[in-house]
Symmetry: C2
Subunit: 328 residues, 2 copies
């Protein structure tokens, strides 16, 4: 393996000059720099990242710790992070905490140990302990933390309110809300928006808090429909829940967009293609990733203490057929 001293010999300069030239430090004479670059190219020199890391006590790698890699929302976020990282010379190590606190803390610990340059985290809970990171810059996404860090959020509540209002505007009379567990901020923000939309309408709110999974969506739907005051439409807190709702409705022969109204959070890949196409509240997932990455780049650059920043992004109401009346 050709190293820096080989390049130095070939170029007839010292290793320090080679290092400076290769890192484009403008304290080196242009012609010498040129000479060094030629020598490096000729010998096929590849800097040894490992040595560089040890010397600088840091790497050019980010850790992106997300809570569910099988959720299309997070994969879109990941693409945003990755593209932006790339542009800034970083690689990203994608870690899937699978909503398990132990996995999450192990990844946090590995990130600290490996001296990654920065971390982007969608925390399992607001009380997630990030002390293992030491002074490594951190950006939080999707949910807030009980500590002052840069964070990128979406206005979930507003999106939920708009979706529910849309249901009402379409003429549905009794919308219900099926969302995630009470201890998930994303879940409660969405039900809060739903409740806001119902304020002053005289409609009695019905909210089901379940885990963000298909089976639970089906079960919640069944309970609501079998209840005293069966809803005629649904605002659903995420795409997995929506699948379960759809299955239960199909089982009962209830057609979305005709017999029942339906709108869901998150624009899953399947939403536009199934029958009928599903109306959704789309989150700017890719952009969340980009914004978080940009905050991280800045945080790394100005490593001094700096007030935490918060970025809030808007959702988009995408009206397809499932939320309309008599669309068939």
């Amino acid at each position: 393996m050709v190293k820096i001293s080989d390049v130095a010999r070939e170029a007839g300069v010292s290793v320090a000059t080679v290092s400076r030239a290769l890192n484009n430090l403008d304290t080196v004479r242009p012609d010498l720099a040129e000479q060094v670059h030629r020598a490096a190219a000729q010998l096929g020199y590849r800097p040894n990242t490992l040595a560089r890391n040890l010397r600088k006590q840091s790497t050019l790698v980010w850790a992106l710790i997300i809570s569910d890699i099988e959720n299309p929302f997070f994969t879109a976020v990941a693409r945003g992070v990755e593209d932006t990282a790339q542009q800034n010379g970083y690689s990203v190590m994608l870690c899937n905490s699978d909503e398990e606190p132990e996995k999450e803390s192990r990844y946090l610990s590995v990130a600290g140990q490996d001296r990654v340059a920065g971390v982007i985290l969608s925390p399992h809970s607001a009380s997630t302990n990030v002390s293992a990171l030491g002074r490594i810059p951190l950006v939080v996404i999707d949910r807030t933390l009980n500590a002052p860090f840069d964070v990128v959020l979406v206005r979930s509540r507003l999106g939920a309110q708009q979706a529910t209002k849309h249901l009402l505007d379409e003429g549905w009379q009794r919308p219900a809300c099926i969302t995630g567990p009470r201890d998930a901020e994303t879940a409660t923000e969405r039900s809060a928006g739903y409740l806001q939309a119902l304020e002053g309408t005289g409609i009695e709110p019905q909210v089901q808090y379940q885990r963000f999974r298909s089976a639970e969506g089906a079960q919640a739907t069944a309970e609501l429909l079998d209840g005293e005051n069966p809803p005629d439409s649904f605002f659903i807190g995420n795409a997995s829940l929506a699948l379960g709702v759809l299955a239960e409705l199909a089982k009962r022969g209830l057609r979305p967009g005709v017999d029942v109204g339906l709108i869901s959070f998150d624009d899953a890949p399947w939403a536009p293609f199934i029958n009928p196409p599903i109306s959704v509240v789309a989150q700017p997932a890719y952009d969340i990733g980009v914004q978080a990455a940009q905050l991280l780049v800045q945080r790394i650059a100005h490593s001094g203490p700096q007030a935490p920043r918060e970025v809030n992004l808007a959702t988009t109401l995408v009206v397809r057929e499932s939320s309309q009346r008599n669309s068939h």
Copy 2:
């Protein structure tokens, strides 16, 4: 930051002994080892991964380079790889090549540069150049490479044949095949299985080669249905295509499982939940990840030249409603 020499002083031994004790090399007296561990714990010693990497010229990180992070198949693979890596003390850096050769080669280059301990790759094409990896162990998945490496594959052709035969057994008369582009091995293997199933039946095969995307699935369906010999059923090469097919069928008022038969490769999360539930050829995606990871662990352990191994996994036919006649 407390380092190995601090532990050495605290324990009253040399740094060499500390290193040996901490790495559980049984060449150290038990009581001394005990003493070292206590000292390390007391001081809160955390080994510096960066120094270790430089010294060993390798890391405890794998690169997993997949071609599409938004494809549920690959995310399931990723989970299998990650869990197994974890168990063996490795972290995994997930890289999304997005089917772009340039991204793929950049990741290959970063992996080589960063001296990762091993790489698992779903190559964009059979001629992907992996020379940037040097002697870093490599395991290939999903598609083969024009070079002798360990590989984990699925018996796609057999799965496709079974699916098509199932369509025939259900009484469908003219199944068509919609699959990926001709230069994708996974695509052609699936059409090959379809063709095999039709051999000797007197049925005229109809195959559409398209990109693995929803829009193309819709278009192919339209072309087939508007053709001279419209099919009465479809064997579809992957889940994205299937979404497009479903959309086109809905547009024409054709109901899967009643007016038309339908079975698709890949058990997407939405497949069981939509109306009607979709029959599929399920790939053992998680297990592919596990197997690939295990091959990699072994390859790393026995770094000497060793004959490449090939693991072939079977698909599972999952019959739901879309492939049946008169299921309603």
